[in-house]
Amino acid sequence: MLLIHCPYCEHDRSELEFRWAGEAHIARPETIAEISDEAFAEYFFLRDNDKGVTYERWRHIHGCGRFFNAARDTVSDRFLMTYKAGLPKQPVADVAATEQTIETYEQTEGDAR
């Protein structure tokens, strides 16, 4: 179970109190009624689903109720930082070293396939 730091409560709390809310930093277009089909598809349907550091939204739904942003390494499941909604995307330190330490499926299952 993940341990998540709520930037509003300023406490580490169990994953049980939170709900994941999708990729972060996808702003709803201000003139959404006028945008092209392609722009709408990009905004609403398409997500990056990166391996490694991803920026995502969480909500402290069973706590303060606030949505906030998090940078999480999807390989290690480590939260690199969390920050309040509305702040620009926060840079995170080089996580290459972190990733290297982590056992991936390929490393675990051997190379015999």
Binding site: M1, R28, R59, I61, I102, T108, G110, A112
Partner: protein, 992 residues
């Protein structure tokens, strides 16, 4: 074999062990009565009475004995009962402590353990090679579930689960600590002393009843000049007295998850003869540790040779535990077969206790000099460079066949027990679960922790630290403090050998067991490789090696070595199967804890629930809610009751509990602006005191939720949602408010449970509530349809809506939940006095369908636009923005021929369609037919005197008047497409 109450067993050694003879416990095994000593495990108690045969193997039904003295036990799985309900199958005899009155039985045998009919499988074993089931029972397919599987499951199996409900209760606790230490042997205790000295909050966990770990058997270790086991107990007492230390024994760290989260199972009462009723049987600990120290030790491996599974053959460390801890010898004339020095220590301890050691057979040419010298001093014959090629004995080993390696010249040595050791496997299970990466230690042929993924450190035998001095230093350093402990031991946790021993190599056909619990032999693993399995993950699944409840604690390394040899590849490239939680089996009771029965998935009840139950309501589940479904009177079935309720509402009036509808209070200067963005409708034009039906779409333009919204003041709206949609609608609103429109001054509050909602619907609705309502003119002129007002009802502050989900004159009375029952009772009494009745959700469904009112989630399915549902009028054409405005303009949502909601009338009025049934234009077209849509709602309408239905049909509104067909399994039903209003098409009644 059964003894008098004072007979503690013929195999007890006087003066040996740490148990107290004064405290005894009686138990039965397969109906025979035995006496044990307090502190005995089931295994040690049976061995004390000379009982080795305790089970039959999984597949071949071979006689099996006790192999180990710990949680790795694959054979001695027994059924342990207090009474018929408190019975647990597959209990490891080596872990279960004996308690007075225990009823213990062997498993997987019929009619008896000594004579088991299933043992014929052993003779048929050439047919039961690995992969046999996969290949043999392929077809006919139907026979699998009816014939093959039941028979295979009965023949090849473990214990039988109890059918009665578990009468015990289980508890659940959360804990936080600075350091959690798994394992309380020398390393764990040292680390705990060190960490505790720094003031850190420490939790020290061990699965055994007492601390000490390997000191239970290793009598050669001295710490600070004291016997190791005694030092361990004294140290535990010292630690327990410290306020910052918690010691949990009989507790297994079964899972190591993300971010320092660990699952612990504490066995609270399984060892007690008469547990207090208030005690939970087991307790689940969910611990969040800042740091974890793994001191989980190592597990001894067996030797893989022909017929290595007879009762009486066991691990050397197990024999030593039974002797040094329980005071029990495993035989009178014991053989030793080893590839590691540690088995010698077991032989020495047995010899000193007066047991004959037949011979020490060592596959190595050069064992350690010290042990050879000691063996010589004790007069034990040592055969170096020799192997045990085979064993004899039907229900217990009687002899071993020994030969020099490479020679066929063998000699038979009579034994009644054979203790074996191939060396030690570090317990890296928890380290692997934490996603740490292992490295292969070529010299010692073992996997060791390498790269850590969490704040965690391994110390001692599980880290490949073999000598006691280094082990203590490492553990002390890991604790972060300083401790000065001096230890000495003849014991080292080195690796030893892995793979098949002499006589069980690739050119042989003998049964040399690798995995005892699943009856996997060295031959099976080689067969898997020959059949093309080249990854250990495939070999594991083909042979089921390591897939039993012991999770391959003994078999993984042997299996891997045999596969690597066969593949002629370096062992690490064949791969190591992933260790997963739980480390040992955990009962469902522990995991489920209090969440069972009524607490498994708690039901939500409205304030009027009890009154409706008393009125005879049948309830249905809607989300987590219990809703009154219908109110049958004496002699009525559901259909009759629902028909009466539907008729009564339209003729007189009915009372309905609408409390479960979601309610959200939307407040603030920008409340109307916010609702304009969240709903398709326009809200700024709605005047205070009025309400409106609203549709909410998602950004993609599809209907998400609906409900009536009342405006109480310029800055205050009372929003209702569907019953099931309330939480997600609030989440959706909060999402937009907080992240997309954060500048709007709006506050959202869930008020679903604050209000009891009583709907009164029907021509006499006004007459019913008028005397109860204070301060409000209910006339059509003053309070027309879709009005809302704050008033008092029976003196209680209320919100009164004039609205209707039936098409009748209707009101919804909202009063604070605590007053719901009282107001309900008064309204019900007036209603019934005037000839009305209570009605439930089924009548509500029928009545709304008669009027063509949709239910989101029934008549829509997440691909339906407001226009598809016939609600295009609710989408504002003037607004420049709302959630869904762009999605609705997508080409596919605007094209012709989309499925639209229409009415269907069956040609035969008595035919009621099935919801979900498919609709076609031509029932005679070839299959697969072109399907035009499906029936979403279908009912018998008492008020229309016929069946009615709604359906989503491609280009539906253009088909009104056409005949379509609904093919069913036994017939085809012709239907006429209509609009969706079946009753009171003019809609006059609502304004009555």
């Amino acid at each position: 074999m059964s003894g008098s109450p004072n007979n503690l067993g013929a195999f007890r050694i006087k003066g040996a062990g740490r148990l107290t003879p004064a405290r005894t416990a009686r138990f039965t095994f397969d109906g025979k009565s035995y006496t044990a000593m307090e502190g005995d495990t089931v295994a040690s108690a049976l061995l004390a009475h000379g009982v080795h045969l305790v089970g039959r193997s999984f597949k071949y039904h071979r006689p099996r004995g006790i192999l180990s003295a710990g949680p790795e036990e694959p054979n001695a799985l027994l059924d342990v009962a207090r009474d018929s309900a408190r019975r647990q199958p597959n209990v490891r005899a080596t872990v279960q402590e004996v308690f007075d009155g225990a009823k213990i039985a062997s498993q997987n045998r019929w009619p008896s353990l000594a004579f088991d009919v299933g043992a014929v499988n052993n003779l048929l074993s050439p047919f039961f090679a690995a992969g046999f089931y996969y290949k043999t029972f392929m077809w006919p397919r139907e026979a699998w579930s009816k014939l093959y599987e039941p028979i295979i499951r009965r023949a090849a199996g473990l214990g039988v689960a109890p059918k009665e409900e578990d009468p015990d209760h289980y508890a659940n606790r959360f804990a936080h600590c600075d350091v959690l230490i798994a394992g309380a042997g020398v390393a764990g205790l040292t680390a705990a002393l060190s960490a505790a000295a720094t003031g850190a909050e420490v939790i020290l966990v061990d699965e055994q009843p007492e601390v000490g770990g390997a000191l239970h058997f290793d009598a050669s270790t001295m710490i600070d000049g004291q016997n190791g086991y005694d030092w361990a107990q004294a140290t535990a007492a010292k630690l327990a007295a410290m306020p910052n230390v918690r010691i949990l024994t009989r507790t297994t760290v079964f899972g190591y998850y993300n971010h320092g989260f660990l699952g612990l199972a504490e066995r609270v009462t399984d060892h007690l003869a008469r547990p207090g009723r208030d005690l939970p049987r087991e307790r689940l600990w969910q611990v969040r540790a800042k740091r974890v120290i793994l001191a989980t030790g190592a597990i001894e491996r067996h030797m893989v040779f022909a017929n290595n599974d007879r009762p009486g053959i066991m691990l050397a460390s197990a024999a030593r535990t039974f002797l040094n801890h329980h005071g029990v010898t495993v035989g009178r004339k014991v053989g030793v077969y080893t590839a590691h020095d540690s088995a010698y220590e077991a032989a020495f301890d047995l010899k000193r206790a007066g047991v004959t050691i037949a011979a020490i057979v060592d596959s190595r040419a050069k064992p350690g000099e010290a042990v050879v010298a000691e063996a010589k001093r004790l007069g034990i014959e040592v055969l170096t460079g020799h192997a045990v090629l085979d064993t004899s004995g039907r229900l217990r080993i009687s002899s071993m066949k020994v030969a020099r390696i490479g020679s066929t010249d063998s000699r038979k040595i009579a034994v009644d027990a054979l203790i074996v050791s191939a060396g030690w496997t570090p317990s890296v299970h928890l380290f692997s679960q934490s996603r740490g990466k292992l490295r292969y230690d070529e010299a010692q042929q073992r996997f060791l922790p390498d790269i850590y993924a969490q704040d965690c450190v391994s110390v001692g035998a599980c880290n490949g630290t073999d000598e006691i001095a280094a082990l203590i230093d490492e553990a002390a350093a890991a604790g972060g403090g300083t401790v000065a402990i001096g230890g000495e031991s003849r014991f080292a946790w080195t690796g030893g050998m892995i793979g098949a021993a002499e006589g069980a190599g690739p050119d042989t056909t003998v049964k040399a067991f690798v995995d005892f619990q699943h009856d996997v032999t060295a031959k099976d693993i080689r067969l898997a490789v020959r059949e093309g399995m080249h990854s250990i993950e495939h070999i594991k699944r083909f042979t089921t090696n390591g897939m039993a409840s012991d999770q391959g604690k003994l078999s993984n390394m042997h299996g891997l070595a045999i596969a690597a040899e066969m593949l002629d590849r370096p062992l690490p490239t064949v791969g190591l199967t992933t260790f997963r939680a739980p480390y040992t089996p955990v009962t469902y009771g522990t995991l489920v804890s209090h969440s069972r029965g009524d607490l498994f998935d708690p039901a939500r009840q409205t304030p009027m629930h009890a009154l409706q139950a008393a009125a005879g309501a049948a309830f249905e589940d809607v989300g987590n809610w219990k809703r009154a479904w219908y109110f049958p009177r004496r002699g009525e079935d559901m259909a009759v009751a629902v028909n009466r309720e539907c008729r009564t509402v339209r003729e007189v009036a009915g009372v309905f509990d609408a409390s479960t509808l979601g309610k959200i209070e939307v407040v603030g200067p920008d409340a109307a602006k916010f609702l304009n963005l969240l709903y398709t409708n326009a809200w700024d034009t709605l005047k205070p005191g009025k309400s409106r039906y609203g549709i909410m779409t998602r950004e993609d333009g599809f209907v998400y939720d609906d409900g009536v919204v009342g405006r109480l003041a310029e800055d205050r709206f009372h929003v209702t949602t569907t019953t099931g949609g309330a939480p997600r609608v609030l989440h959706h609103m909060e999402d937009y408010l907080q992240t997309e429109f954060p500048d709007l001054k709006v506050w959202l509050t869930s008020t679903t449970e604050q209000w009891a909602v009583i709907a009164v619907q029907g021509p006499k609705a006004r007459e019913i509530i008028a005397p109860l309502v204070e301060g409000l003119d209910l006339s059509n002129e003053a309070f027309p349809h879709m009005s809302v007002a704050e008033c008092t009802v029976m003196g209680v502050p209320a919100r009164l809506f004039r609205m209707s989900f039936t098409g009748e004159l209707g009101f919804e009375v909202n009063v604070p939940a605590d007053y719901g029952a009282a107001v309900w009772t008064a309204i019900r009494e007036r209603t019934e006095a005037l000839g009305g009745c209570l009605y439930g959700t089924e009548a509500m469904h029928v009545l709304r369908a008669e009027k063509g009112y949709i239910i989101v989630g029934q008549d829509t399915d997440g691909t339906v636009t407001p226009d598809d549902a016939g609600l295009g009028w609710a989408v504002s054409k003037k607004k420049t923005d709302f959630v869904g405005i762009r999605g609705l303009k997508r080409p596919d949502l605007m094209r012709d021929g989309r499925k639209q909601l229409v009415g269907l009338l069956t040609n035969r009025p008595s035919d009621v369609l099935e919801e979900g049934a498919q609709i076609v234009a031509d029932p005679n077209q070839p299959k697969p037919m072109t399907m035009l849509g499906h029936v979403t709602s279908a009912y018998w309408s008492e008020n229309c005197g016929r069946s009615i239905a709604m359906a989503l049909v491609a280009g539906g509104r253009a088909r009104i008047g056409q005949t379509l067909y609904v093919p069913m399994q036994d017939r085809t039903i012709a239907v006429e497409v209509t609009d969706t209003v079946f009753f009171d098409k003019e809609g006059g009644r609502i304004h009555g």
